[in-house]
């Protein structure tokens, strides 16, 4: 079977992988380079748990042809931390108890990062819009929205 070489930047490291035709980015991240932060939730583009940033923009890795990432930059939740230092979003999610089962969290964090990178002072409506493609079955969204707002204001003590 023919495999294609793909090189891209993965959380600030250059990686090169051989992929099968039509392999999606999610499979390549998880099985190819062992980054299991993005999850499989539907393969349909309807749940958002596989959300990653490609060149800074949110994408659904399950619907992204791995080949199309050649030479681009892919960020996942595994790269959010700065060394041992948690990203403000991670701190806010902890302080607001914005995760229960934790399965949607990696995608939520990346959807939130895409928002805050572009809009550091979002409204509640902006936040709802930013995570509108990400399903959470546990929390009722409220703590997640509050956490993202808190991270934006860097007021990590703010409570829901």
């Amino acid at each position: 079977m023919t495999k294609t070489a793909v090189q891209f930047r993965h959380n600030e490291t250059d990686v090169a992988v051989f992929v099968d035709g039509a392999a999606n980015l999610l499979a390549v991240l998880r099985d190819g380079i062992g980054d299991v932060a993005p999850k499989y939730g539907c393969g349909q583009g309807t749940c958002g748990v596989c959300t990653v940033l490609i060149d800074g923009e949110p994408h659904l890795s399950c619907l992204t042809l791995a080949e199309s990432c050649q030479g681009r930059s892919v960020e996942t939740a595994a790269g959010l931390k700065n060394g041992p230092e948690l990203h403000p979003l991670q701190l806010a999610f902890m302080q607001h108890f914005a995760a229960q089962c934790g399965f949607c969290t990696p995608g939520m964090l990346m959807a939130a990062k895409a928002l805050l990178d572009r809009n550091p002072a979002p409204t509640r409506e902006d936040v709802a819009e930013a995570i509108s493609g990400n399903i959470c079955r546990c929390t009722g969204y409220e703590p997640i929205v509050n956490a993202i707002l808190a991270a934006a204001s860097h007021d990590d003590a703010r409570r829901a």
């Binding site: 108890f97 819009e129 509108s132 009722g140």
Partner: protein, 341 residues
């Protein structure tokens, strides 16, 4: 066009612990030689926070800081038997098993400390900060670390404990249904306020006020997670969810999260929650299980609020805009009920 507001109320109770009993859970607790404890379970954390709540239960029972306890779950080679995480049995059944195991470990720990301090174990108490002291004479104390080292390398004691909690299976009288279904009950009452569009049947949530009685809130933040998330699921059940939109017809079953409807972050409303605590005599530190029952009052409260707003009763879930609109048309228009007193 008109939008009508209405309020509805519902009150419920919920049986805690698997119906009829017969569902044991086991726990093992042991200390390493530096006085840090591990709880071994085969129970499951699906997000409800079982690891976290059993960790606090173990720390409280041992009298050590919660940081000194780690809960390891769900390895069938190391975790003893548990029926599983369902039927509101996690906190109640597993929690009680952890208490039993931790008590046994605590007993050995106290004996070991007594031997080191040359006093009666009965005169000792943990200070909750990692030391064991003579009751009334805090200056005479020993760190649990030193106790564990002594137990392991000097006294040859195992600071460990085993626990099981079993509510024996209840018989059911086939003729009358006489039975002992559960050992304790959680309670709730919820008031929902909605706004109904009488031209489209669309419902918008305005506010929810509720009171939940949970025995004891073992961890208020975890309780809050359950009650907030559970109420969202209740709302979702009430107005949106079905795998068969034309039940009992099998047609048009949803295949993805676009077709399977659940409220989005733009559909949620303020929810003010009060927590009441009437400890359950048989619950761990009086705790009941908030996880399952928290969604239940929302469904009828929302249905009753819709009636209060436009005067239609929708007795088939989910209460879709279509069902509301059909009912409004059938009765010749919205009939707002008198404002609830």
């Amino acid at each position: 066009m008109a939008k009508h507001r209405g309020r509805g109320l519902a009150s419920v109770n919920y049986p805690i612990g698997m119906n009829l009993g017969g569902d044991p859970s086991q726990a093992l607790v042991h200390s390493n030689p530096s006085g840090k404890f591990t709880v071994s379970l085969s129970s499951i954390d699906l997000g409800q926070g079982l690891k976290s709540v059993t960790r606090q239960i173990c720390a409280e029972t041992l009298g050590v800081p919660v940081e000194d306890v780690y809960v390891d779950t769900a390895d069938s080679d190391t975790g003893p038997h548990c029926m599983g995480s369902f039927a509101s049995r996690g906190t109640h059944r597993v929690g009680n098993a952890v208490i039993t195991a931790a008590k046994e470990a605590r007993g050995v720990m106290m004996e070991a400390a007594a031997e080191e301090l040359e006093v009666n174990a009965g005169d000792l108490e943990p200070d909750g900060k990692g030391n064991i002291q003579v009751r009334g004479a805090p200056h005479r104390s020993i760190s649990i670390r030193d106790v564990a080292i002594a137990a392991q390398f000097k006294q040859g004691r195992t600071i460990a404990g085993r626990g099981i909690f079993l509510v024996p299976l209840s018989d059911v009288d086939p003729e009358t249904g006489e039975m002992t279904p559960a050992t304790c009950y959680a309670h709730a009452c919820l008031v929902a306020e909605v706004e109904v569009d009488d031209e489209t049947g669309e419902v918008r949530m305005v506010e929810m006020n509720s009171a939940y009685e949970l025995g004891r809130a073992l961890n208020p933040r975890l309780v809050e997670q359950q009650l907030v998330g559970g109420a969202w699921m209740g709302l979702s059940h009430a107005l949106y969810e079905t795998t068969e939109p034309y039940y009992p017809d099998r047609k048009h079953g949803p295949r993805d999260f676009n077709e399977y409807l659940m409220p989005g972050p733009g559909d949620i409303c303020p929810h003010h929650i009060a927590v009441l605590e009437r400890p359950a005599p048989d619950g761990p530190f009086g705790g009941k299980g908030p996880g399952e029952m928290c969604a239940n009052p929302v469904l009828p409260a929302v249905a009753n609020a819709i009636f209060n707003a436009v005067g239609v009763r929708i007795d088939e879930l989910p209460i879709t805009p279509e069902k509301i609109l059909r009912a409004i048309k059938a009765q010749g228009g919205a009939r707002p009920q008198r404002a609830t007193r």
